[in-house]
């Protein structure tokens, strides 16, 4: 039986408090009107000589034409139609102000989604192991159940954020914009607020319902003598996976793709899923190693670690395959309406955009290709941390360019977001792991799993 140590609990609470303070600061310190924004931009321009900021101040003074290209691009990212020339300066300032006010929202959402997706991905991994009747993984089931304990708080927070973010994230919620935009009108059958909220609530209920059923059956299996709970779980997992494939797809459309409602990509939902899945497997591996080191998982051997590391490796490659599949097709055809998505990411987020490939692909492929290294805990931990950082950047790049455009930064608010949700994650996963014995008694594949040797 694992109990969350008081030291870890205290750490989690400190993280939550510090993170919360930072987030509140982030929301307070955003400019509330255009005067404050002008001061902020002027100070930045003098201090840093950053080209974007200079552009913005130039435009304030009414020489908008010099940075037309830049403006078009950021408004494209927000899915707006081009403005008339006369009102250019004013509407631009309004636009920049809007992006600045979106910054803390985006920082909050990136971190909230990042930790939530780990719990969600772990749940999917769990369901797959059940459906595949995997013989190696049952010893890890309680660890995975513990990680998915974060699903309920995590999903509620994420859903609240996407519902209340409004036009900060989703330009199609701006009625004035929709009125003058034929494309958005065409999509309003799907992208309208009531349907959006209903969908979000369906995801929330469906995912959490499966977790509730699965953990309840898993506990029942440990105490009962028949295999009925196991069989029920098998069925529930099949239906959950079907439900998940559909809802994950629409979730990616709803929460991420509709941030740039003029842009679309068919591969997008799979790409988001790959990120979800590889991060989740990495965290399962990290938590397993932590618990093993602390002496709670004697029945887990290095072959299990080897298998998890193989999954980390394989899904890192899978993620890269989808990332590149999306990028190559759009880059190659270079259709203006599609390519805007990458233009802003390459021009304004260059280092992050390509650095992410090194972290998510080159690093894991070189570290985890060797069979022996996959059995060495500190090696897997190192690769795991790099993968997690890489996928945080991935989520950052899904959200930031679409919401705040070129005015991104990585500062107090972003770090506070990570700390807050990390604290929350540690707290809920820790208490989740402490609820039941880590030995999943009664599982029909347990014996095989314990003796698993690769």
């Amino acid at each position: 039986m694992y109990t969350l140590s008081s030291k870890l609990k205290l750490t989690a609470i400190i993280l939550i408090v510090v993170g919360a303070i930072g987030l509140v600061y982030g929301f307070i310190s955003t400019p509330s009107n255009e005067e404050e924004l002008k001061e902020l931009l002027a100070a930045d321009a003098h201090g840093e000589h950053d080209s974007n900021q200079v552009d913005a101040t130039v435009e304030v003074e009414g020489h908008g034409s010099a940075s037309d290209a830049h403006h078009d691009e950021s408004s494209e990212a927000h899915g707006e139609t081009a403005h008339g020339e006369g009102e250019h300066g004013d509407s631009h300032m309004e636009h920049v102000l809007h992006q600045f006010q979106t910054k803390p929202w985006s920082a909050l959402f990136v971190s909230a989604f990042f930790f939530f997706m780990i719990a969600l991905g772990a749940l999917v991994f769990y369901a797959i192991q059940y459906v595949a009747q995997a013989g190696w993984s049952p010893v890890l089931f309680r660890v995975i159940e513990g990680i998915t304990n974060y699903l309920l708080p995590g999903s509620i927070i994420v859903v609240l954020i996407v519902i209340f973010a409004g036009t900060h994230f989703y330009p199609w919620q701006n009625h004035e914009l929709v009125e003058e935009d034929v494309i958005l009108q065409g999509k309003s059958g799907y992208l309208n607020f009531p349907f959006f909220v209903i969908r979000a609530i369906i995801y929330l209920i469906g995912w959490n319902l499966y977790r509730f059923i699965a953990t309840r059956n898993s506990v029942a299996q440990a105490t009962g003598s028949s295999l009925t709970p196991y069989k029920k779980n098998f069925k529930a997992s099949v239906f959950f996976l079907l439900f998940f494939v559909v809802t994950e797809t629409t979730m990616a459309w709803d929460w991420f793709m509709s941030m740039t409602p003029h842009w679309y990509s068919t591969l997008f939902a799979w790409y988001v899923f790959a990120s979800v899945f590889v991060s989740a497997i990495t965290v399962i591996a990290l938590v397993t190693m932590f618990l093993k080191k602390a002496g709670h998982l004697e029945f887990v051997n290095d072959s299990h670690l080897h298998d998890l590391a193989k999954f980390m490796f394989a899904f890192s490659v899978f993620w890269t395959y989808l990332w590149f599949g999306q990028f190559l097709l759009i880059w190659y055809a270079n259709i203006p309406e599609e390519v805007t998505y990458f233009i802003i990411r390459i021009e304004e987020y260059n280092l992050l955009f390509f650095g992410m490939i090194a972290l998510n692909f080159i690093f894991p492929i070189l570290m985890l290709i060797n069979s022996d290294y996959k059995r060495i805990p500190w090696f897997v931990i190192m690769a795991g941390v790099v993968i997690l950082v890489g996928h945080y950047i991935d989520i950052f790049l899904l959200v930031m360019p679409s919401t705040v455009g070129p005015y991104w930064s990585f500062g107090i608010t972003e770090i506070a977001g990570i700390l807050f949700f990390l604290g929350l994650f540690i707290f809920f996963v820790g208490t989740g792991l402490g609820k039941e014995s880590l030995y999943p008694k009664g599982n029909p594949f347990l014996k095989e799993s314990e003796n698993y040797h690769y």
Binding site: F324, L328, W331, S371
Partner: protein, 175 residues
């Protein structure tokens, strides 16, 4: 001096694995083992060094990647940088994404084929090679262990092998 080997034939792979352990403990030298199918754990039981085929494959893959990069850099960027459909062939990196499918395939191609050829060469497999099969039954349902008996008492060794469960024991004299 003429060398002698003993062929001990077993009809079960568990028995064989068990016998291999006993033979090694008794410090007899196992020359070769013939089995109709892969027996899991046999290589470890004999004390075979792990294969380095995967390492060669990795190196071949890197070779393939280099071939692809050098080839396309020369053809598409240096030798004749044409404007084909507006693709930017100013430097390798500007047109890199369109080369990736070829880079990937050549990496896999080299890694796979050269590794297979390495395997054939190391295990001396080729068309028209004469089969080195001491007993045709070993390709069907028998397991044969070859033990060097040159410096041992043949009777003692036969008795020992009989006790490990061998179904047939043959003395082979190589002249």
């Amino acid at each position: 001096m003429a060398s002698k080997t003993i062929h001990a034939i077993y009809n079960d792979d568990d028995l064989l694995l068990h016998a291999v352990k006993q033979v090694r403990e008794a410090r007899y030298h196992i020359g070769e083992i013939y089995t109709p199918f892969p027996v899991h754990g046999l290589d470890k039981a004999i004390g075979e060094a792990p294969t380095r085929l995967a390492i060669t494959s990795f190196l071949y893959g890197i070779t393939g990647l280099s071939v692809a990069v050098l080839m396309m850099n020369f053809m598409m960027v240096q030798d004749w940088p044409q404007d084909i459909g507006g693709k930017p062939s100013f430097s390798f990196i500007t047109n890199m994404p369109s080369f990736v499918p070829i880079m990937f395939e050549l990496t896999v191609f080299f890694a796979a084929h050269l590794m297979v050829i390495t395997f054939y060469m190391r295990s001396r497999l080729a068309p028209f090679k004469k089969a080195e099969n001491p007993d045709p039954r070993t390709t069907d349902d028998m397991f044969l262990m070859e033990i060097d008996a040159t410096n041992h008492n043949v009777d003692d060794l036969s008795k020992f092998l009989y006790d490990t469960g061998a179904a047939e024991i043959k003395l082979i004299d190589n002249k």
